[in-house]
């Protein structure tokens, strides 16, 4: 194939509008008659709403309405739901408490919306929101998961006794216990996976329009999955029936999971537009609101034990995890610490027995849901810190211990649901060790020590599950939706092509990579191909983009539709050229009869399809095909990351001296874009490892609620990354794709922490490894040395 097909480093088609300031994000859209919404939010972590006094606020200039939760529920707007049912180990369904888009009786976290003010200008609405007087009875709240389960803790939802949402398990506990009985060695770790704020650079926004004549709504919003948003807004929240609601997710400035969910603000803006009798309402989060309302990520506390036989083969793994889900159950919150987490606890290893128990609890904090990696970073952090800790305790090289236990035969059924279909874990480990010059680390360490610095190296061999997911399989596990994807390929009479996809691009470059599939198939230049996404009026349906699914699932749907287009085009060409269908070849924009000089231009065949003058007997005119693709299995990207750090023992400042990534993503459509995805994932993973921490105080105030308080990596905090790939094709989808969007964030935190603990010479280090934490760990190490 030519320069724009599969595997080519094609520059991005979408870039021109972004580099010239012509991107069109939600807040860039303005319409006639637009009003502004400002939310009145709880300043308390937990309180009873006694009274909301809007009298003064309503008198202020430009205010057309102030609405509260009682009016919202009174109008039949449904509660926000979690769409994935998880059952406790005793068989009982999860204990989901009610979540109204505007609080009715209680507020349960700082930032919980109490009322909405609609004004003619933003400044007027802001001023009136300040004047809304909410009388609260402040209650004692609870912030950490451990405290929420303690006896005497405040009870947040009547449905959830002791704040426990579910107490779930996976694996065979008796068999795992038995394996521990006969083990030669047992290694234990206690770890905490720090709470993170996803922080896409574009804050969430909604522009809700209401057409009273048609009783029709249009919502522009910052969504990773506009069709799911429409479905949920319609079927569950009763905002409007689907045929009366158009959802458009235009250019979206990053998502990372935070823009999957349907939040109170979108619901309220739609409802309030009709209620207030205005044509449109716009709401755009400021960054403080984003910190207080975007779903957070991670926040696990775990205890793990791993058992080894005398040959250092793993014989069992037992895990107990406590996951903090915040004040309410967000859309996919229940699946993250269960089916997206514990099913990956086998890592890259042959582990015959695994048992995990996961308890999830309510606290007075922002709801927690999927953030880049979603469960898999938590699993990888646990397994890979365990492997390095075990290697140290067993006195063998960390790479050697991993190799001793690698899965090498596929398919491989783990004891925790997943069946790995393909992989070569030695290959990525070899590649990463070579690229990092692992063998000569000792020399570099000695050099650092001469300068009075500490140096460490750490690795992480991750595996994750993408391409979510076979609909029947996830349905059987409690998912409320199917996780297929759809595509439609429309060939125009002049031979140009439009691909309508249910995937959504918010930085991933679909307009380029999806076009590469068409280019590859028919030999068309990419300027003749248009990718259409993000509008429920244009694309029939789609499940959207998250879980690194747009390659493995979204592109597979396009491939299926392309198969149908190709088959029909060949039939038409065979008829026009009076040849056998099997002899027709489509290449470089030409349709020819193999082994002859008989040929037509691609555009001639397309035009023929639309004139209908000379079609095979009984064939419908036109050249447009659609497909739904439902995956047969998850896909399993895997790889090895190696991090090398230097630590200043006097300040605790850690500098990343090199970071090497060797990933196996299966087939790669555009290496440039894949590398970019890895870079970005690594930055977020290193951010988690070194600095990011959504810290609450004891009263439930989010202390890290601005860019001055929540530290995210800046350019000077990161090195240049050395990334490379190895390839085993995924047997489960037509292209052999595995997915690359989350790997960097999944695999990197344990590599960083393993490197730092290597430098420290002990394992006592909490994530994030801020200078303060590292300095304290250096001191603790020194004291330990002195005591010995």
């Amino acid at each position: 194939m030519g320069v724009e097909g599969i595997g080519a480093r094609v520059l991005r088609k979408e870039d021109k509008r972004f580099i010239t300031g012509k991107g069109r994000y939600t807040d860039d859209h303005n319409v006639q008659g637009q009003h502004y919404a400002v939310f009145v939010r709880s300043p308390h972590a937990y309180a009873k709403i006694k009274k909301i006094n809007i009298k003064n606020a309503m008198k202020m200039p430009g205010i057309v309405g102030i609405f509260d939760g009682k009016q919202l529920t009174g109008d039949g707007i449904g509660n926000i739901i979690c769409g994935w049912m998880v059952h406790s180990k005793d068989g009982s369904p999860m204990n989901m408490g009610a979540w109204s888009a505007l609080a009715t009786e209680y507020v349960r976290y700082v930032g919980d919306a109490v009322a909405v003010v609609v004004g003619e200008t933003l400044a007027q609405a802001q001023a009136a929101a300040e004047a809304v007087d909410v009388d609260y009875k402040v209650l004692k709240g609870v912030v950490s998961a451990e405290e929420a389960m303690a006896s005497g803790a405040p009870q947040l939802h009547p449905e959830a006794a002791n704040n426990i949402i579910f107490d779930w398990e996976i694996g065979d506990e008796a068999a795992t216990d038995a394996a521990f009985e006969s083990a030669a060695n047992v290694v234990e770790i206690d770890i905490r996976n720090n709470r993170l704020v996803p922080n896409p650079m574009e804050p969430r926004a909604a522009l809700a329009q209401y057409d009273a004549a048609e009783d029709h709504f249009t919502l522009h919003t910052t969504s990773q999955n506009p069709h799911v948003a429409r479905l949920v807004l319609s079927a569950f929240y009763q905002v409007a029936p689907e045929n009366k609601l158009r959802v458009i997710a235009p250019d979206v400035g990053g998502g990372f999971g935070a823009k999957i969910y349907i939040y109170p603000e979108e619901i309220v803006c739609l409802w309030a537009a009709k209620k207030a009798g205005v044509e449109a309402i716009k709401w755009t989060a400021d960054r403080g609101e984003a910190f207080l309302t975007d779903a957070h990520g991670r926040d696990h506390v775990s205890k793990a034990r791993m058992a080894f036989d005398a040959n250092n083969k793993i014989v069992g793994l037992k895990v107990e995890t406590l996951a903090n889900l915040g004040a309410y159950m967000s859309l996919f919150s229940s699946s993250v610490p269960t089916y997206l987490y514990a099913t990956l606890l086998s890592g890259q290893y042959n582990i015959p027995n695994i048992h995990a128990n996961v308890k999830t609890v309510y606290t007075n904090t922002v709801p927690v849901d999927a953030y880049r990696g979603a469960g898999r970073p938590e699993a990888t952090y646990l397994v890979e810190r365990m492997m390095t800790t075990a290697a140290r305790q067993l006195g063998i090289d960390p790479a050697e211990l991993r190799r001793t236990n690698f899965v090498r035969e596929f398919p491989h059924q783990t004891p925790v649901i997943m069946c790995y279909d393909a992989g070569d874990f030695d290959a990525s480990l070899d590649a990463a060790m070579k690229a990092s010059d692992y063998a000569n680390f000792g020399k570099r360490k000695a050099k650092s020590e001469k300068k009075g610095m500490m140096r460490g190296i750490g690795m992480s061999c991750y595996i994750e599950a993408c391409g979510i997911a076979p609909s029947a399989a996830v349905g059987s596990l409690g998912a409320g939706v199917g996780l297929w994807e759809s595509a439609e390929v429309r060939v125009n009479p002049v031979g140009t092509v439009e691909v309508l996809t249910g995937s959504h691009s918010h930085g991933q470059g679909h307009e380029t990579t999806f076009a590469q599939l068409v280019s590859d198939r028919f030999g068309l230049p990419s300027e003749n191909i248009q990718i259409v996404h993000g509008d429920t009026d244009k694309v029939q349906f789609g499940m959207g983009t998250y879980g690194s699914r747009s390659g493995a699932v979204g592109m597979s749907a396009i491939e299926k539709a392309l198969d149908k287009v190709e088959a029909k085009a060949k039939k038409i060409a065979a008829h026009m050229l009076e040849a056998a269908e099997g002899d027709i070849e489509i290449k470089d924009g030409e349709v020819s009869v193999k082994g002859t000089d008989k040929k037509l231009g691609w555009h001639e065949v397309c035009l023929g399809a639309y004139t209908g003058h000379n079609l095979p007997e009984g064939m419908e005119p036109g050249l447009k095909e659609g497909a739904f693709y439902d995956p047969t299995n998850f896909t399993f990207p895997a790889g090895c990351y190696i991090c090398e750090v230097e630590i200043d023992p006097n300040t605790g400042v850690t500098s990343i001296e090199q970071f090497v990534a060797a990933d196996d993503f299966g087939k790669i459509i555009n290496p440039m874009i894949v590398e970019g995805q890895v870079h970005g994932g690594l930055a977020q993973g290193i951010g988690q490892a070194l600095m990011e921490n959504a810290t609450y105080d004891a009263d439930g105030q989010l202390l890290a609620a601005s860019y001055m308080d929540y530290q995210m990596p800046r350019a000077a905090d990161l090195p240049n990354f050395q990334v490379s790939t190895t390839e085993t094709l995924c047997p489960g989808n037509p292209l052999g794709i595995k997915g690359c969007g989350e790997a960097g964030a999944i695999g990197s935190p344990p590599a960083v922490i393993n490197a730092i603990t290597d430098a420290l010479g002990h394992n006592e280090l909490a994530m994030p490894a801020t200078p303060q934490n590292v300095w304290a760990a250096v001191q603790a190490g020194g004291m330990k040395d002195a005591a010995e």
Binding site: D28, P200, M201, V252, G254, G680, S706, P713, A716
Partner: protein, 163 residues
Amino acid sequence: MAKVEMTVNGRSVAADVEDRTLLVEFLREGRNLTGTHVGCDTSQCGACVVHVDGKAVKSCTMLAAQASGSEVTTIEGLAGNGALHPMQEAFRDNHGLQCGFCTPGMIMSAVDMVNRLGPKLDEATIRSELEGNICRCTGYHNIVKSIAAGAKTMGKGMKKAAE
């Protein structure tokens, strides 16, 4: 109300605005120049960087009234007429952007960096000079590459102009 008069992307504009109107609001809402973005409330992220009298300024931190009498250039006016500035081109050629939201501010900061420090920028300088711009997508790797490449091309242009 404040009366402001300024040149925006080569055109003179005048308006009466509320005193508290920020330059970024004036550009986005008053002039429909939506390429300048707002990513935070605390002057940390740099998505709103524009040039005021040739210098990079976070337009969320300046009142429109303070910019009165100035020449303002936004991302839309950096090259103009469908052409691309070498720094814009470099971001595209080096995959220096993903979601595109921080990109206008990154490019405006990068051009300012070259204007101040010259076209020979090493990696450490670029990284440290990007202190006021946050990107959540790229891990900065390709942004640093883009700026180095864009600076080099700008340098050739400067040399040519000098000759």
